[in-house]
Assembly symmetry: C2
Homo-oligomer: 245 residues x 2
DNA sequence: AGGCGCTTGTGAAGACGTGCACAAATCGCG
DNA sequence: CGCGATTTGTGCACGTCTTCACAAGCGCCT
């Protein structure tokens, strides 16, 4: 390590938050570690080794240690990591110490499922608004929340301090919705519609596309099939990877 | 280009499929290109330049060209790519020339939405079975398919030639379901439950975790906030979250 | 106190992915 | 037929990510 005395500890720190800028790949894995840590905590573990945690999270242990070292984390050599402390650290870095408000736009087939999902609440988020453009859906109550018209977004965004927008509308409407979200100051969007969104710099978009996942799986199926079909004669039967360098 | 005369053309090919082993990153982008190409085809375009297609898919044009070059694709210098041909090529490589059968296990909140989703059919897949362990759900009809008991999986897998399993059960049941899927010969799994699955070598698992996506967005929100707060003078105006241990 | 075994944190090397920039190829037109 | 405009395919350099391997640190036991 080189240039930070305070690793960004949540504890005292009247000083700077000093968010180290983590590698993107690391950020994507922190939530996995966090989930694994919560499981460990629930089952009574107080400490865990990098080996144990990496197994629970399904990654290589060296990678885990490097990831944690990036956030200046506290492990104890010969012992491992303090589970509770590590949870605190990761939640701090991920910005989960404040419960962020999510607006869900498009309460159709998928939107209903999302609205009824308890994984939001348990993982640091709060569904603060359900919005739809279809007047016949407005007014419907789901899980204690009333669906409101998407045009009310400007008011709601302020009232509820919306931090994240989730788009579950048809693809044709997604760009328009994204524009509306951006217009009210939302800078993070999760998009379920199968289309590319264009947004101004500074706005983060992540997408989830079911069909893409399936098509990637399909590719590997295809490849596996063509491999087992071919190598009758001479080729590597199985894990003959790592041939010459 | 060096060593392939046939780029793996789908048309005739009594010969070898000759699947080039594509970089994983490329495989992950091909479905994006495919979707963009279908859009272009629908709006009457017969050819498209790498610039145009890359814009539609939201990537850098050099990256697109390199990706396509990996599958030995046919572009025409000075003109661009033939849309229909490229669709054929990509669908061939992704193994979408046969419509793969998907078994959906866990017809709850999320499972219902997935079962009713038309994006499966339109992107190369067929929901061949809906399975659940809850007797009170068995028999229910969704979108023309009847929910059957998960114990019938062995029979159904053979009858329907299940290629891909989708897990939409609670996390606690996911590993068990995965084992059952593997036992009947499924080698590709898409997992919506927030947990790590352990499967034998040769089985591919992809996971979709909503909370992880939100937490990644949360991190960037946090970072953005701490950046705009800091560089003014010196102090962190906000981010006073997480007080004492 | 000292030594021993265990585990972290990290340097270094290699694999992988990205994007620039340009030569090679093709088309259309005069 | 030749030329210029255009666009592909790719060599190359750079950055990011992964993994190995090991020194440094820590706690426990004698
Ligand atoms: N259903 C799934 O399992 C599933 C899976 C993956 C992706 N998706 C994608 O998610 C999106 C939604 O899918 P769905 O099955 O829920 O569709 P849906 O048609 O059931 O629901 C779409 C909802 O969006 C609303 N809407 C339309 N335009 C709007 C606008 N401008 N502002 C606000 N709301 C608007 C509609 O009124 C409707 O309630 C689609 O893009 C789909 O491709 C769905
Ligand atoms: N609902 C969402 O929007 C959402 C979003 C992201 C992830 N998820 C995840 O998807 C999974 C399903 O979520 P949900 O909201 O649909 O839950 P749910 O409880 O509504 O549905 C789960 C279904 O799985 C069935 N099931 C349980 N054990 C089974 C077994 N061994 N074999 C077959 N079926 C079994 C149950 O009978 C039930 O019908 C969960 O792991 C959840 O974390 C849900």
């Amino acid at each position: 390590m080189s240039q930070h005395r305070h690793p960004g500890a949540p504890g005292r720190a009247g000083a700077v938050p000093a968010l180290p800028d983590l590698p993107e790949a690391t950020v994507a894995r922190l939530p996995e570690y966090l989930r694994a840590l919560h499981n460990l905590a629930d089952s009574g573990h107080e400490t865990v080794s990098s080996e144990g945690l990496s197994a629970a999270a399904g990654v290589n242990s060296a990678k885990l240690r490097k990831d944690l070292s990036h956030l200046g984390s506290y492990g104890t050599r010969g012992v491992g990591y303090d589970v509770a402390l590590l949870i605190e650290q990761i939640e701090y870095v991920l910005g989960l110490t404040q419960r962020r408000a999510v607006a869900l736009v498009g309460v159709g087939n998928l939107g209903h499922a999302l609205a009824g999902y308890d994984g939001f609440a348990s993982r640091g988020f709060r569904i603060a608004a359900l919005l739809d453009a279809d007047p016949s859906r407005v007014g419907e109550e789901i899980n204690g929340l009333v669906v409101r018209h998407v045009d009310e977004l400007p008011v709601i965004a302020v009232q509820e301090s919306i931090a994240i927008g989730v788009i579950a509308t048809p693809a044709a409407a997604a760009q328009r919705v994204a524009d509306q979200l951006v217009a009210v100051g939302v800078t993070s969007i999760l998009n379920f519609a199968p289309c590319v969104l264009s947004v101004p710099e500074g706005v983060d978009v992540r997408k989830v596309d079911l069909a893409i996942e399936l098509q990637i799986l399909s590719f590997h199926e295809h490849r596996k099939a063509s491999l087992t079909a071919l190598p009758g004669g001479l080729a590597a039967t199985e894990t003959q990877e790592a041939i010459g360098t």
